[in-house]
Amino acid sequence: MGRDLADWMEERTGIVSLTQKLLYEPVPKRGTWLYTLGSATLFLITLQFLTGILLLFYYVPSADDAWDSIYYVMNDAYFGQYIRGIHFWSANALLLVIGLHMMRTFLSGSYKAPREMNWVVGVFLILIVTILAFSGYALRWDQEGFWAWEVGAKIASYTPFIGGWAITTLLGGDTAGPATLSRVFALHVWLLPAALAPLIGIHLYLLRKHGEYGAPFEYAERLSELRKQQQMRAYDEMEEDEL
């Protein structure tokens, strides 16, 4: 029965072959654990999305209520501490794991040709995640979060030429207030995740396009397979030419 269902779905959606294509990817034999850091990052980001959606059921993005709404989550809502705890700690772990992931990429030289673009995309991803973490801090609207955002905006104000534009844009005015919180909320919940998601897609696409990086001898089997295929194709073409 299960097989019939799988066949039925495969015929109509190609889901089975797609899943196979997505799941099976040769990776280098050496340093396997170091190659899980990217997956760990993806897992933690997924956790952020899921717990973030849940927190939105209670969070109120207004200067009057933001703090109280989180107080409610932490003290009154069932599993509130648990859900928010996951959001908070996985955000912390995310930055750590991204750092390790980036370090592994750097130290193993995985950024070299033809993978430079994936490094560039990764840099944008880490930037977005950093701003996400920072804006999430401000959403608490407690003393820590409020002043952190104030300081961040102040730092941005030292940008040459556009400092004034930067700080007023980040604060939603020339002082920090209710408009600031609305802005931080829009950034944290809509703009940045919306920018993050497609970039993750591109990051993964590029990874699968070029394959995991590893020393060539670790790829020996894969390369010989590839060469054989190329050779076969070349023979086929030759035969077609002759016909």
């Binding site: 059921f57 209670y58 209520d65 109280d68």
Partner: protein
């Protein structure tokens, strides 16, 4: 051959362990988020808690209700919803308790002012029996239509309580007389003081039903 087929790479014990572990992990992943999201529903349905604080609010006096019509009065209850769930620390900020404004429809039974009040000196306290008598004659109704909760009002021309949304009609006693509502208007828990003031509570019932939650009021 059957013996061959039964040679499963997975033993029965392993299979059961996998099932148990899968159930546990599945529950751990799904139950907390579901309960978290359903929090308000659990507090209402399972624990019977209300967002509105259990307190009496004062309306006009029984002497002010005219004969032959239903008058509307606004009353403000104290609502504490989710983010101001009555935590003492939160209470002290004072900005997070929101008033919940209800419109109350008041009328005398069949529009007739009870004999007790005819030519009575308002300064004289009402006795227990008189208050009981008045209570039986007084309609203290929610203006929320019993159909879909739209705000109903007294129509001077039609001499009935009408709903603007789907044409629900009630008589002066709040009894359903026409349109889609399944029953008459919701009634408040109320009492009458010795001075003749009407006090209401955010608690409801319907005549001939044990439903207690209008939900939209």
């Amino acid at each position: 051959m059957p013996a061959e087929l039964q040679k499963d790479p997975l033993s029965r014990g392993q299979f059961l362990w996998m099932g148990a572990l899968g159930t546990f992990v599945g529950a751990a992943l799904t139950i907390p988020p579901a309960v978290f999201v359903l929090d308000p529903a659990i507090k209402d349905v399972v624990q019977g808690k209300s967002d509105v604080i259990d307190e009496w609010k004062e309306l006009d006096s029984v002497y002010d209700i005219p004969p032959g019509e239903a008058v509307t009065q606004l009353v403000e209850f104290t609502q504490k919803q989710t983010y101001d769930a009555g935590q003492p620390a939160v209470d002290r900020t004072g900005t997070n308790v929101r008033p919940l404004t209800n419109a109350v429809l008041l009328s005398w039974k069949d529009g007739k002012v009870p004999g007790v009040l005819e030519g009575r000196d308002e300064e004289k306290p009402l006795t227990q029996t008189e208050r009981h008598e008045l209570g039986r004659k007084l309609n203290v109704m929610s203006n929320a239509c019993a159909h879909m909760g739209c705000p109903t009002r007294w129509s001077e021309e039609e001499k009935e309580i009408v709903c603007p949304c789907h044409g629900g009609i009630y008589d002066i006693n709040g009894e359903h007389t026409g349109g889609p509502p399944p029953h008459g208007l919701w009634r408040y828990a109320f009492r009458i003081t010795e001075q003749g003031d009407i006090l209401v509570k955010h608690q409801f019932h319907i005549k001939g039903s044990n439903a207690t939650r209008p939900y939209v009021v």
